[in-house]
Symmetry: D2
Subunit: 136 residues, 4 copies
């Protein structure tokens, strides 16, 4: 699986708040889109994973906002997969507006089954882990 | 079941567009909230209905927008159940900002099963239909 | 200006409801995105229009839903500009999932100034109108 | 100004993801609603503040998710104002589903003017600060 990927997202007209700034809650949606596209670019598909009974949930996330984005700005959202261990994976995100870094995010994802019970990541999700680490 | 109901909704900060107006797509969310609360006020609960395998889908909807609403406005959303026949129910909606009517909406709902197949409304959903009509 | 245009939108993970269907309110967001991209493909930009003090508001809209879309489906959204007269323009929308038409929408847009007063469309918006009609 | 407040929010039908869980990005919207209602309960109104040229932006935020919430759950969202210093205020959030704590959040807010320049909080926003601290 790829360990990083980037996509472009154009800020939607309905995604701004009354100051005309991209609403802070929507950055988390952009992060998610980036990680789903990383998966697709790796030849995998999250929907298939769900249909096979594997679900990914966000157990924590956060973001620092450095500058505002506005309606119609074309942003670059970059995701970097960090430590992957057992049933958890760390992700870092960077959002750029042209050359300006405007936000830094992170999320911890956990893999669960249909009943919400934590289960280990399949080997194909753990390519970022050092070899020898975390043997099945 | 009640044939009409009204609720109050305060326009959220993230629900406006870059003109500062309640985004037009969100009115349909407000309508839905009104009809779910009508159900609750009738002593029923849509979640229970879903858990029993009955799902309600919107087959068509529309809205006329007469005036804008702004962040923090406290709106009154009124739902009136219209014709209920077989697996379909008509709803009308009115949105008021203080005393001003600002939007007029409508939706046609259909009851389906988990696979999306149309199925008749249970009798408890058909109280608005004239008696003798549409016998089970 | 172009009189029709189409874009592709992938259904987001957060855009479905608890049945796993693309939430009906989000179709209106997709329609908007299609008309903004029609503008961009015509060499214009809605943000510039707003900065010049022209705003477009939706005065009515509606949609018929023919089939459900699911998370990760790649939809084609087509917008066709209809009658453009004075300060109003009609738009029709079609949503396809692969080859299946899944939704038919429409919207009436009006041009207003910063205070919400209706004002005529600039000539560049009226290319769809028959020549001789609606002289400035 | 109050230093803490709590509100109830019922999870909307369109706010869940395809697993049927309240989408993680929406918690930040709930936090915002809680802090705006804290303001209202303190006899103030954020809209008035904006109209006076003071804007509040989120400079960082985060959340840990402990358990899922589902459509129709009635959640309690509690906001606690932490350190308020200069132009910044810290907020902590707790989300309960019945008696279960399901999420822990935080946000740092900064006050800016219409051009996004940081400006000190008006004294009325700083009641949580120890007296003698941060003199005007």
């Amino acid at each position: 699986m790829l360990s990083e990927h980037q996509i472009q997202i154009r800020v939607g007209y309905h995604e701004v708040d009354s100051m005309g700034r991209l609403y802070h809650g929507h950055y988390f949606t952009y992060f998610e889109k980036a990680r789903l596209e990383l998966l697709r670019a790796s030849g995998r598909n999250y929907r298939d994973l769900e249909e096979a009974g594997h679900f990914v949930v966000v157990t924590q996330c956060g973001c620092r906002f450095l500058a505002a984005a506005r309606y119609d700005d074309l942003l670059t959202v970059r995701v970097v997969v960090g430590e992957v261990r057992g049933a958890r994976a760390e992700h870092e995100y960077q959002v750029f507006n042209q050359d300006n870094l405007i936000a830094l995010g992170h999320a911890t994802l956990a893999m669960v089954d249909r009943d919400g019970k934590v289960r280990r990541l399949p080997p194909s999700w753990r390519t970022a882990a050092p070899s020898g680490d975390d043997p099945e």
